[in-house]
Symmetry: C2
Subunit: 399 residues, 2 copies
């Protein structure tokens, strides 16, 4: 699916543009109508729990900081990125040249994989896992080695090492996406100590703020190890659309990534919002509690109703639908609840993002209906085709 789908959203848009043009000319064709029927826009009042977004959005101080910076939008204002990095470094005890800011952590993820994999050095990742790096590996002409998670849904670092003596970059998301499960610091240390020479370990901590027991790998960076830690403001901080993330690594590793990205800085809107968020002493604890409370209430409901899921410490979890998950995705959409995708290795499971409490109550009602068979996937009337989730995996793949 990767290369073919890369332009699928554009192709879809193209169809839309063609449809508009055709409508203007009063010419509609069957393929255009079919394409429109299969990709209806998501209704405004839908429950959107498919992309691991934070329904709370940016915190108040972040919103205010953006309003204040708008008049300055014509200036590059690199000093605002410097201020953000300085703030983070002071909090984490890092030297400023160990941290670089990007418009989200997707860029350093992609370019880090580009920098450390090649036709000779493979990309090694867990399964099920976050797929973004596999696209970068493809760009680098590298083999992707997918290693099944251990029974506790942590990364099986021993198996990862055995599977890829040619590994160039070992990718560990902790908490993992989609399972929301942790890989222990000691397992990550073991991987770092036993990985092939010249390789790096990338620890994606996009979801770490949701998990109180998670231990960051930043200490390994400080200790001079071959480790890249990724952080993002897209998740707990509610800034997915504003685009801000960090790569944390030794300067020589940063330089290798920079050879691929060029020198970068971030939008002033993202810089001031992220800085304000970091300086808010309460936001992490408050939002972690909100997410945990809603997630655990949802788990309690699932338990009470006899549904199985993988216990998660994050803002998403895998839910067993006991049938092809794609059917359930479609049936839930007919109930105005847009849920996340499946992973090929676990095809009966769908990924659910933790929304607000009212959203999760709507989810529960819809899920109960779908699982009881009150609602089925396809009930196309003569003029209504079944909803079909847009195919592009990138739709759900940004950090």
């Amino acid at each position: 699916m990767p290369e073919k789908s890369a332009f699928s959203r554009r192709s879809f848009l193209h169809v839309s543009a063609a449809a508009s043009a055709a409508a203007a000319l009063h010419v509609m064709t069957e393929p255009i109508l079919a394409a429109q029927a299969l990709h209806p826009p998501i209704p405004k009042d839908a429950v959107i729990i498919d992309k691991n977004e934070n329904p709370l959005g940016p915190c108040e101080v972040a919103r205010q900081a953006i309003v204040e910076v708008i008049p300055q939008g014509g200036r590059y204002s690199f000093e605002l990125t410097d201020e953000l990095i300085k703030t983070f470094c002071e909090q984490e005890g890092l030297k400023p040249d160990y941290v670089r800011a990007f418009s989200g952590s997707s860029t350093p993820l992609h370019e880090g994989v580009m920098a450390f994999t090649s036709p000779q050095r493979s990309y090694v990742t867990g399964d099920p896992g976050y797929e973004a790096g596999t696209f970068a590996a493809k760009g680098a002409g590298a083999r992707t080695v997918k290693v099944p998670l251990a029974k506790d849904y942590s990364h099986d670092v021993h198996a990862m090492l055995s599977a890829a003596p040619d590994g160039g970059l070992f990718y560990i998301a902790s908490p993992n996406n989609p399972t929301g499960t942790l890989t222990s610091h000691s397992d990550i240390e073991y991987l770092v100590e036993h990985k092939p020479e010249g390789s790096v370990v990338m620890v994606d901590e996009a979801y770490i703020h949701f998990a109180p027991t998670a231990v960051s790998a930043i200490d390994l960076v400080k200790a001079g190890k071959d480790v890249i830690v990724l952080r993002t403001f897209s998740k707990l901080y509610g800034m997915a659309g504003l685009r801000c993330g960090f790569a944390i690594a030794r300067p020589d590793i940063q330089q290798k990534i920079m050879d691929h990205t060029g020198w970068t800085f971030i939008p002033v809107t993202a810089a001031v919002a992220a800085t304000a968020s970091l300086k808010d002493p309460n936001i992490v604890a408050e939002r972690r509690k909100v997410n945990t409370d809603v997630r655990q209430q949802t788990f309690a409901w699932l338990d009470a109703n006899g549904y199985s899921y993988i216990p998660s410490e994050s803002n998403c979890f895998l839910l067993d639908t006991r049938q092809p998950g794609k059917q359930v995705i479609q049936a839930m959409a007919s109930q105005n609840v847009i849920i996340g995708r499946i992973w090929p290795s676990m095809p009966t499971y769908v990924r659910i993002t933790v929304g607000t409490q009212p959203e999760m109550e709507k989810f529960q009602v819809a899920f109960q209906r779908v699982m009881k068979g009150t609602v089925t996937a396809s009930v196309p009337g003569p003029k209504k085709a079944a909803w079909k989730k847009p195919a592009d995996p990138h739709m759900e793949m940004f950090t």
Copy 2:
């Protein structure tokens, strides 16, 4: 300077952090003090005409659009990028899969050079010209071929072709940075028709909105040629800090760039501000007139006072200082006027950005003083070192 300076801003920051730490411990060392003295912060009331920014900032509809999108900042909202691309394509008569949006045009510039140059395929550019691509060429292990501009300061496309039979990417900025001069559409066509097989021509149109006589190369993209056109919202649209730009090229060329960038989308703040700016029917003509009026008034003053400059159709121009330009940069800074850099091939010229009329009047007063010798570059008192422009070329290198 490239590789050494890549982290120089970080190194400077590092010094600042060290200085803060040292100050907290009441320990100050000579190197820290010296570093601080050499890099004083730019005063708040300084005239900043060094980075080709637009002093007007974002237009009113753009500012309003940002305010309105803030509550949505927690969502990826890809549809806002789609809406921006659709708006641009409708205006330019392009198909949506010919346009990709980035956080500024620096990313497709860098990644385009990475994609089409290599140790076997050189990067070919004008001199003096915008230097960003040379950094990317270095990342790709490619040779950079700098070809002097023609006598009229257009790109000498015949000389570029002769100099680089191995050319992989030919870079033309029109209007050029720093000269503000145009390269004719027929010269660009000639280059496209006679370039080596497998190469591409990148036409950087960052400044095109300022030049009423400039002819875009977008028609060559529409005609299926091997051309990448870059556009940015950083200049006329006053959105340098908000980060939005386009690469316009055939889908197969976009795919090659995408192999290097991964799939990207832009901040929601940039998307809505850019869309609103494009839909404003007056902004280009209004802002072009403001810039032209101030620039021509400045030229009239320079003429009246016997100073030489290169006539420009853009928001910047090269000004002859009849002495090493670096001295003048420093002397102007002592007058609170921060002007742009020099190019090694024209060391007596400095680049001046067109600011507001009041800013250019302050520039004139300061420049007159400096050129009359009333002010000299270095007047360090016992405790005051001369101002030194921070070394990182990237400081002025974003589009």
